[in-house]
Structure formats: structure tokens, C-alpha cells
Amino acid sequence: MTEQPRRRRFSRVARILSRTGDQVAVRRIRWLLGIYGLLIVVVFAQLISIQVVDADDYADRSVRQRERTITLPAVRGRIYDRDGDVLATSVDGATVYADPRAYRPTETPDGTPVPAAAAAADVAAALAPILGRDVADLTERLEQDAHFVYLGRQLDWSVGEEVEALDLPGVAVLAEPKRTYPGSALAAQVVGFTGIDGDGLQGLEAQYDGVLRGKPGTLLLERAPGGLDISTGIRELRPSQVGTDLVLTLDRDVQHAAEVAAASAVAEFDANAATVVVLEVATGDVLAMASSPGYDPNARIQDDQDAWRNRAITDVFEPGSTQKALTIAAAIEEGIVTAETDVEVPGHIRVASSTFRELSPTGEPTLTVGDIMERSSNVGTIRIAQELGDQRLDHYLRAFGYGSPTGSGFPGEASGMLMPPEDWWPTSLPTIAIGHGVAVTLLQLAGSYATLANDGRSVAPRVVLGTVGDDGRLKPVAARSGEQIVSPSTAHQVQGLLERAVTGDRGTGSLAAVPGYMVAGKTGTARKPATDGSGYSDQYVATFAGFAPVHDPQIVVAVMVDEPNPFYGGIVAAPVFSEVMEAALIARRVAPDGSATTLPAAMDHARAQALEVAEAAQASLDENPPPSGPGGASGDPETDEQGD
């Protein structure tokens, strides 16, 4: 058993030893070829794996290494007023950021220690005066365990340039679109504002966010490891689409005049707030919509929130006596009265359990409808409304726009409050007839007066005139057609009645007069409902609504002053109306309607004034002759003659 293996081993060794040199070489070459062949197989298999099996994966990796997709932010559309003046636009803001890793020692992957590029405190101290921030606050941010921290967002570009000039390690500046409002507080409640990320948050910025924001684009390109673009590589540009510009119906000059007047009223009458709406009669364009107090959207703070809202469309109030024009218009349209109809007006009238009295008793048993309007008679208006009835009064008030939004396109517009006649109390008819128990927005009130001014055809107020197309031209929004609410004859009669309220001897709106123009309008004074729903408070709302010129109405102005002192609409709101109406008529180049002075009369007046001044000066000289100088004569022959 043991002999055979030993012999076999011996024979193998003998065979190896017996090989010649050539045989050994051949065998070695064969081995090498085998190994090479094996290596080639391995390499080829790997090649197949890379080029065929995992080809897509490697191609993707390659693309990811070379390609850079840069998001191109869309520039938000601008907001213009009706004359193309910019109310809101976007500029490049400087966003300063830092990589806090630069301010702490680190190690490379192979363990080599890397010292901090700079001390966080030093960097914070250098940035603090430029960014206007506290050094400790900046230091804390720079020492955060993060790769990226904002140090300031959407700052002025000049600030970014100052920061870049410092060339601080770990600090960089990024261009970021920043919304800016060049007019500061001008039309702030209408235009609204955007958030820091460019989303519309308030006003028309929120309502038309989808139109204004545009679409971001992308730039796909290949970059070398050094960061340079590979000019022969892929370069696909999908340009961002600029947001669509919005054109408003506002007139910047009229808006400014309305804001100044509203702010003056708040200051002068110690009021809670004041709101003004200016409408163009023919189109319903809102030329101004001002609320005071206002705010600056460029530097808004959370405490301003009460000032953010557009009171003209969000706040409702009882219109008070301004409502009487609509009640009487409905009665005239129904043929119940005319402007000359006599109405018995007792000192008070009792309806159900309530007694309605005149604020200023007339002492006359009858008044014409014109007198009722001029003196703002409660009892007279209630008598007329009783003839009209619930259903018809409700019908006309709704037709004038009460109880539903005007459709101006503004976010958050209130509907007002007008109960259906089925729910009315026995006292609702007289109450609503004189503007109580019903609530409207100032825009609704202005719209109803615009209907009267527009010969009885309803006017739909609008804030947005249109958008700017790709060709830079205005694309107007479709105008809504109006309906005939009352006949032109009725409207003309009411226009005449409202004129008496301003120009009549006993008119309550005499302070609303505008030099050179015939003005029509109506005052209103209403107590505010108590906040707990238990009736009325002791606070008032003063209103005035009217239009001019009377014979060809062009402009409607409505004013509401909240909680003024004193509280009468004729004292508080009428002067605001006059100031704003005058500015609007001049800004819109409306010709005077005949009450202006003629040229000869103006020249006579000027001549008379000059004569008066001259005579007064002469009398003053006669009484107190000027002292003569030491030399006697002054050298002026006329003076010398008088001196003689």
C-alpha cells in the first residue's frame, strides 16, 4: 500500500526533473497566457458590467457630476396705477449668509487638522455695523452647528456690496428678489404686500398672486471641477417667465390727496379711522381708496395689522342719512312722490313701539321732498318710505348694490347687511329708510351714488384696469355692463335734491362745496352698534357721499370718519369730501360746470381788490407818513411831490 504512492511521487519528480529548458519555458508561457486570459475575462466582464449592465447608472452619475441646474427666479410683475406710475416693483436685494464650519477647526478625511478660517466673533464684529445687527446675535448665529445660516435677507444691494468688499471667510452674498413699494404708504391697503419669499400675503398682491408671480426658469449647463462652464457642453436654458404686470384704476395723485385728507380728518377730529373712496362715474373705476391710519409695506411691523386692512371694502357701517337719497329715489321711481310733492311732517312719528323724531325740528307742518332732502328730515323720509313699503324698498336697495359684494375684484370684500323683508321687524322699514338697521361698505355707498350720478344706470366699481401683455400694451379686463336701476328722469330729480343738500340755505352739507363746481351730496351721521349686540353705543360714524359736477357728473366721492369728535357728518366728513373732490376734479381735468367766475367778473374782482389794497395803503400812509431822511428828498420824484 505504501510502495505505490511513493513510487508515483518519485516518478512525478523524475518527470519534472527530466524536462528540458524549452519545455519549462513553454509551460510557463502557457501559465502566463492562462492568467492573462483570466485577467482579460475579468476586465471584459467588468467592461460589460460598466458599459452594458450599469451603463445608465454610470451615465447618470457622470451627468450629475458635470451638470449644474441653476434655478432662475421669476421676476414678479409690477403694479402700476392707471397712468403707468409704479406702485410696486421688484429689485435685487442682497441676502448675506455664512457657513459656520469656517469658524471652527476641522479635519480633512485623512485626519489632517484644518484650523478655523477666522474667529466668529471677529467676523460678527465686522458685519454688525453694516447689517445693523447686534454683535452677540451675529456671533451666536456664526457659531451654530450648521452648514448655512442667514445673516440678513433682502437687504439693500449697497449693503451686500459693502459685505463683499470685506472679503470675510465663510461669508457670501446672494442676489434675491425683493419687493419694494416706491410710494411707501401710498395705496398700501389696496396694493398689499408680499412675504419674504415673494408670496402675496395681503391686498391685490395676494388676490393676483398667480398672475404676478410668473414662472421660474432653469439653466442646465456642464461645469468643470473648477467651476468654469464647459462651453462645448450641454447648455439648456428655460428662461423664467416674468410675472404679468397689473394696472390698477387708481390715480396716484388722487389717491395721495385722499390719504392726506383722511389722515387730516383723523388728526383734527381725534377719530379712530377715516376712509375715502373716489369713483369715476362713467366707468366705475376706483380712482382712490384711502384708509387712515395707514402703514408702510416696506417697513411693516406686526403691530400694524389693524392698519393693513382696506376699510373701504372690509368694514361695514350704517349709512345714516346718506341712505335717504336712495329711499327717495325709489319713491320717485315708483311714482309715489316727485321733487315738489308736499309731505306732512309732524315733529315725530310713532311706528310700533318706537318713536322717530327730527334731529332738528323744522316747525313746519309740511315739507316738499326737496326740503326733506335738504334738511335731512327723518320723519319726512319715513313717511315716504311707508308709502313705498317693505318689498319695494328692499328691492331698490338691493338693486343699488346693498347686501352683496360689488365685485370689485378685491379680496375680503364684505357684503354688507340687509335682512330680507320677511325677517324685518315692524320698525325695520322706518329704520332702514333713514339708514339704520342696514350696513354697507363705503365702496357700496359710493357705488350707489355713482348709479344716481350715472343717470340711474348701475356702475360696477373696479380696482383692476387690466394687465400688461407681452407686447407691453394694456390688456383691459372686460367691463361689466350696468343695469338701469331708476330712470334718468328720476336720477336727475335726485341729483337736483342732493344739490340742494349742499347749496341750500338749510343744507347740511354746505362744507362740501367745491369752488368752481356745482356739487351734490348728502351727509350722514349714525351711531355705531354696541359690540355686545345690545343696541347702540355712544360712538358715531360721520359720512358724506356726493358727486360733481352736478349737470354732468364725473366723480363720486364717499367719506366715512369713524368715531370723530364732533360726530356730525356735515362738520367732519363734508370738508374731507370737498378737499378730495377738488383734487380729483383737477387731476382728472374736469371742466367747471358754470359756477366758475367769468373772465370779466374775475378781472373786475381783481381790479376792485387792487383798488382796495391801494386805498388802504394810501390811508395808512396818510395816517403814518414815513419819516423823512436827514437829506430831505429821497430822489424819487413822486415821493418828493407827496412830501411837498
Binding site: V75, R78, Y80, D83, G84, D85, V86, L87, T89, S90, V91, D92, W157, A175, T180, P182, G183, S184, A185, L186, L228, D229, I230, S231, T232, D245, V247, R252, D253, H256, A257, E259, V260, V468, D471, G472, R473, L474, P515, G516, Y517, E582, I586, R589, P592, G594, A596, T597, T598, L599, P600, A602
Partner: protein
Amino acid sequence: MTATTVSPLRRDRVRPAAPKPRPDLRVVREPRPRHTLAYALVLIVLVGAAVFGAVSLNALAAAASVEARTLDAQVRAAERDYSMLVAEVASLEDPGRIRTAALDLGMVPAGPARVVVLERSLPADGAVAEVFDGGLDADPLKPLLSAER
């Protein structure tokens, strides 16, 4: 017409070739020497030129890339300046700012406006006047109607 007759070609009988005499020994000349050096030089020149060309093109491409980035940055800066100037113009035109500036300069608000109605013909009456209608075309600063905004 008479056709020409052609007699068929007669083929000679193939005779067996006589055995060729074996060539005599002769001097074989050395093959002409190839100019390896020249080929190598040409090859080197070609390869060098190709490398130089590729490097040059790459350098030119890199330079063009840098220039493109510079131009991009200039365009962005110009657009930034333009948008800032638009905002600045609007800010300067703001009625509130103008009012404040006027008050600072000592101006006072105007008194009540007076309007005079012309009742008699003036020498210029009857002339066709160009009325400024407030159209936006009249003001090149207004971007609304400009396609190049």
C-alpha cells in the same frame, strides 16, 4: 448587300511547354532603406500639432466661457441697475415725497383753486391746438407701453 464571311479561328494545338531553364544565381539587392526618422518626425509633428490644437481650442473655449460668464454678470448687473432706477424714479415721483420736499423748501399749500370761464373770443381761438391727452406714449419714462421694459 453581301455579308462578309469570316472563317473560324483555328486554335493551335497546345503543345507541352518546354522545361524552363533554371535561373542562374544572381545578386539580390538590399531593399531600399526606409526613412524611419522622417516618418517619426512627421508623426511627432502631426501629434504635436493635434495636441497643440486641442489644447489651444480648449483654452479658447475656456476663455470664451469666462467671457460668457463675465457678460452674464454684466447683464445681470445692468438689469439690477435698471430695476433699481425704475423704483428710484417712482419713489422720487411719489406725491408724498414731493409734498414733503416742497414744505421743507418753505413752500405752502395752495389756496382754494379759482376757475375762470372765458366768455369772449381770444386771438388764439379757432386755432387748432394740439391737446395733450395724458397719453402714456408722451412719456418715455413710463414703462407701461414700452415693449423693451
